[in-house]
């Protein structure tokens, strides 16, 4: 039974409003684990938080190299926060390479915790240091805490006789223990997690718990250098309810299952592993009891084709991928549009083009999503804006796909996929069902007979007597569904396919203004995961008296009916995007507004400060010093 003696009382802790901590080390060092355990504990303690995992594409890059550095940033606060933080207040660098890569981001005067035990001649050389920065004064701008974490860990786990290599693995737990002491985090959840993870090797669990406690005790008992103390961050005000942490990919997976339940339909996922979407395949593969059949296909094309076959046979086909996979799926998407079958495609966007930056975030697939097929080939496109929103938009995707007999492309990105935030767990039983209606009646049937309101064709499923029919990608006659090359018919069919998708605008919410008035000097328009940074930046600007509003679009095609009118009410329109200008082009083309792009294509989310600076620049107002 693990119990914890009361540690440093909160009365002797400095009260701070929010803090951003970045853990960085070798990609095999367990930084993701350390960070996410810290985040879990933080969430359980009632802070609002946002995380940003940052890992290299290579699975295990050579130890000690700068391209093998893996990081995890947690921003937590006593108030509502929306981003993982612009720059860390605290950097924990487990080796010289981690210091080299991350030091430039640490705030001047920030706290720098370094594992001096890893600052060996060999590691320093690999990281490109001639001499150790720990000793040459180059880190004087920061509050430096030098600890031989390697040695301290070995001491702590010595009684467990694990051998040096295994023992050193517990370094991250020691470090976590120290940071938990420093920021007043509870250890119970991590200890419980360790005991579960190492259930088959209890002495390894014991060793890790010992390391965790040893790091914590070190904080309690050792004399810290001046300027380094311990802190507490009060609980945030969140709406009452039951909460959990959720990542975007988890939320997407559960949202799809919820959608399937609400539609009353079996789901079939055809997917292929691709960073950063693979965990959707993994998660759903473990949840076949929840109404989904999962299939790892031989490639991206087989994945979507199997999903299309499943939809043809009366299930709801889904596929999940990233940018390069979406490119491969283009022809099959065209077939789904031409045969008007329901289909869900989740694109978890990443740095492009081509292989690009698999583990870095970007939102550069918008134009591909809107246009990337041959011919006039419209389909519905929606985009989630926070990890929790992935749940709601996944349900929307199911609703729209089945109601309008169309593929729906749900755009998220690597940041949303892996980032966690506290999420008020919904009650599925309170959500409005949208049951699927198959065609059964042979009277008056042909495969492209349409609902006059939605323009969706009837869904006649193989196995239904009297409705035998053939569909395919060749153009078909409006009146019979048979192959037709008739000129007027092709024009009519092109128009009706476009009208069907455009008509969805009557079935989606009007665009709302997130902050500010619905007209004025400047509106910042975003989509996808820029939500947090834009919201905070606009909040900050408004606090300094600037007249700026925030609009965030979640329905990319069709867009809400009132969007044009809203945009035209502003003198200036700013469109921050993690791409080289895509939504901005669409807004200019559709609404004839002089929208201005603000583009950052670095594989990293926007910093709040960057958007705030752009707001000031567009309004011609000096930034406060």
């Amino acid at each position: 039974m693990d119990t914890f003696a009361s540690s440093t009382p909160s009365s002797s802790r400095e009260l701070i409003d929010s803090v951003v901590i970045r853990f960085a080390g070798d990609s095999g060092d367990g930084m993701q684990l350390t960070g996410s355990q810290f985040a879990d504990s933080t969430a359980l303690m009632g802070n609002d938080l946002s995380t940003l995992p940052d890992f290299p594409a290579e699975i295990r890059a050579p130890a000690g190299t700068t391209f093998g550095v893996s990081g995890f940033q947690v921003h937590f606060a006593g108030h509502d926060i929306k981003t993982p933080g612009d720059a860390p207040d605290v950097l924990v660098a487990m080796n010289p390479a981690a210091l080299r890569v991350n030091l430039r981001d640490l705030k001047v005067g920030g706290l720098l915790v370094c594992n001096s035990g890893a600052f060996t001649a060999g590691n320093l050389k690999k990281a490109g240091y001639d001499k150790s920065p720990l000793d040459d004064g180059s880190l004087d701008a920061y509050r430096l805490l030098k600890l031989d974490v390697s040695k301290l860990t070995l001491q702590a786990v010595e009684p467990y006789q694990l051998g040096t290599k295994e023992s050193l693995r517990a370094k991250n737990m020691w470090t976590l223990g120290l940071m938990m002491w420093m920021f007043g985090r509870e250890r119970e959840s991590t200890v419980e997690w360790l005991r579960q993870k190492f259930a088959k090797h209890p002495h390894v669990a014991d060793a890790n718990v010992a390391a965790l406690n040893a790091g914590h005790i070190y904080g309690e008992t050792a004399e810290m250098p001046s300027g380094i103390g311990c802190y507490q961050v009060p609980k945030a005000k969140l709406a009452p309810g039951v909460y959990r942490n959720v990542t975007g990919n988890e939320a997407t997976s559960w949202g799809l299952l919820a959608g399937g339940k609400l539609a009353g339909i079996e789901l079939v996922l055809g997917s292929y592993p691709i960073t950063p979407a693979s965990t959707i395949l993994h998660t759903l593969s473990n949840l076949r009891a929840y109404g989904v059949t999962t299939f790892q296909a031989e490639d991206e094309i087989a994945a979507i084709c199997a999903a299309i076959g499943a939809s043809y046979a009366g299930a709801l086909g889904m596929t999940s991928t990233s940018g390069p996979g979406l490119a491969l799926k283009a022809e099959a998407l065209g077939l789904a549009v031409a045969t008007e079958l329901p289909l869900i495609v989740v694109d978890v966007q990443r740095g492009g083009p081509s292989t690009g930056l698999p583990t870095k975030t970007e939102q550069s697939d918008l134009l591909q999503a809107l246009n990337g097929r041959n011919g006039d080939c419209p389909l519905a496109v929606i985009a989630a804006c926070t990890p929790g929103d992935c749940f709601d938009m996944a349900i929307e995707a199911v609703r729209l796909a089945t109601k309008y007999m169309t593929p729906v492309l749900l755009l998220t990105d690597g940041f949303l996929a892996n980032s966690a935030e506290p999420w008020k767990i919904p009650d599925i039983t309170t959500l409005k069902p949208f049951p699927v209606q198959y065609r059964r009646q042979p009277e008056g049937f042909h495969p492209f007979v349409r609902d006059p309101q939605t323009l969706a064709r009837a869904w006649a499923v193989p196995g239904t007597p009297g409705l035998e029919h053939r569909i395919g990608g060749i153009e078909k006659a409006y009146d019979s569904g048979n192959i037709s090359y008739d000129p007027d018919n092709h024009h009519k069919m092109t128009k009706v396919r476009a009208a069907k998708i455009a008509g969805i605008a009557d079935d989606i919410p009007l665009q709302k203004v997130e902050q500010g008035e619905d007209s004025g000097d400047l509106v910042v328009v975003g989509w996808g995961s820029t939500y947090g940074a834009i919201a905070q930046a606009v909040m900050g600007a408004r606090r300094s008296g600037l007249k700026v509003s925030h609009l965030h679009i979640r329905y990319m095609n069709p867009m809400p009916r009132n969007l044009g009118e809203l945009l035209r009410g502003f003198k200036q329109v700013s469109v921050p995007e993690m791409n080289n200008g895509m939504l901005v082009k669409v807004l200019r083309a559709e609404y004839l507004v002089d929208a201005q792009g603000f583009n950052k294509i670095s594989g990293q989310p926007f910093k709040i400060a960057e958007i705030e600076a752009e707001i000031h620049r567009m309004l011609g107002v000096q930034l406060p010093v």
Binding site: T293, A303, P462, N482
Partner: protein
């Protein structure tokens, strides 16, 4: 009444024929295949509404439009993947996959390999005319070396793939061959494929009169057929020839087949190899036989004695296991792990 029960009143060929005008070129071997399938289906006692034809792109792949069943004309090379999806959604559907040498072995080769290795329960008919018909005559992966075509005016420098050998190599558990105009054998072979629980692969030698006329004349012509076709029957000796005096045996001391004539060089009936359709090695040897030295092996080359469960069966068995305790409770799932309660603010 399940979809697998026969129809309440027996169906006829007309019931399986759609109202669409057939648009293949006059003299195309596809007409013969269509007629054979339309005649066979009522004899199988299958339900129209339970039957699905899935095709790719090519002349072969126009097939679904002429069948009064469910049909899906998909995209080039991808019919195996679509058909797999159909079986995942509803494993009770009786699926026929139609492809050609181009659709199935150029762009579709990869998907075909995976379908065969997975052993998805459907029938696969590959119309092999050794040419690209629909796009007007370019050479295909089964065209012979040196084939002159619009894209290979100097003759192709590609060696062809042997579809039956490819199917065996991919792990196909049922591999058979037939000639388009030999309705009796074609129907018998297709019925065997239908019976097989898994991927029933049937290659049909099909004549394209416009772009590759007579590609198989050397063994399908009436006056040559007897000497150049070996009709395989499990448990029967591999004999052929006008007087049925020719046969196959293993060359003594080597793992290769040779043609022998009864009565010559001391060859007796006992020397002739008896066809064992369960033998994978024999099947592979048979698949690669070509005139003029050897006859073309037709009928069921391979029918695995241990095919294992079909892919769709395996997947649905897993679904059953996963759902054995009832459908999952999503509300409960989302509340597992670390959760915390935020109380309403004390006023």
């Amino acid at each position: 009444m399940t979809p697998l029960d026969p129809p309440s009143t027996p169906l006829t060929r007309k019931d399986f024929t759609s109202d669409q005008e057939v648009r293949w070129c006059p003299g195309c071997g596809d007409y013969a295949i269509l007629a054979a399938v339309q005649r066979m289906l009522p004899e199988l006692g299958v339900r129209k509404e339970n039957t699905v034809f899935v095709s790719g792109i090519g002349c072969s792949s126009r097939f679904p439009y002429y069948m009064n069943t469910y049909g899906f004309h998909t995209i080039h090379g991808r019919a195996p993947a679509v058909a797999t999806g159909v079986k995942l959604a509803n494993p009770d559907l009786d699926v026929w996959m139609i492809t050609g040498d181009g659709d199935g072995l150029s762009i579709g080769g990869n998907h075909m390999m995976h379908l065969l290795r997975r052993n998805v329960n459907l029938q696969l008919i590959l119309f092999n005319n050794r040419i690209y018909g629909l796009t007007k005559g370019q050479y295909s992966p089964t065209s012979l070396l040196g084939k002159r075509s619009p894209s290979t005016p100097m003759g192709s420098v590609d060696n062809p793939v042997v579809p039956a050998a490819f199917a065996l190599g991919c792990g196909g558990r049922f591999v058979a061959r037939a000639v388009d105009t030999d309705a009796k054998s074609l129907i018998a072979t297709l019925k065997r494929a239908h019976e097989f629980q898994g991927t029933g692969f049937v290659e049909v030698f099909q004549n394209c009169p416009v772009f590759n006329d007579g590609a198989f004349e050397h063994f399908t012509a009436r006056d040559l057929a007897a000497e150049t076709q070996l009709h395989l029957e499990h448990g029967k000796p591999m004999r052929f020839g006008k007087d049925n005096t020719k046969g196959l045996r293993l060359r003594p001391g080597k793992l290769e087949l040779e043609v022998v004539t009864l009565g010559e060089y001391g060859v007796t009936e006992a020397d002739i190899l008896v066809h064992d359709e369960h033998n994978h090695t024999t099947a592979f040897l048979l698949a690669n036989l070509e005139p003029p030295v050897f006859p073309v092996a037709l009928g069921v080359l391979f029918n695995s004695a241990t095919p294992g469960p079909s892919f769709d069966h395996g997947m649905h068995e897993q679904n059953r296991q996963a759902r054995a305790k009832g459908p999952g409770d999503l509300n409960a799932l989302m509340r597992k792990g670390h959760t915390w309660l935020v109380e309403p603010e004390a006023t």
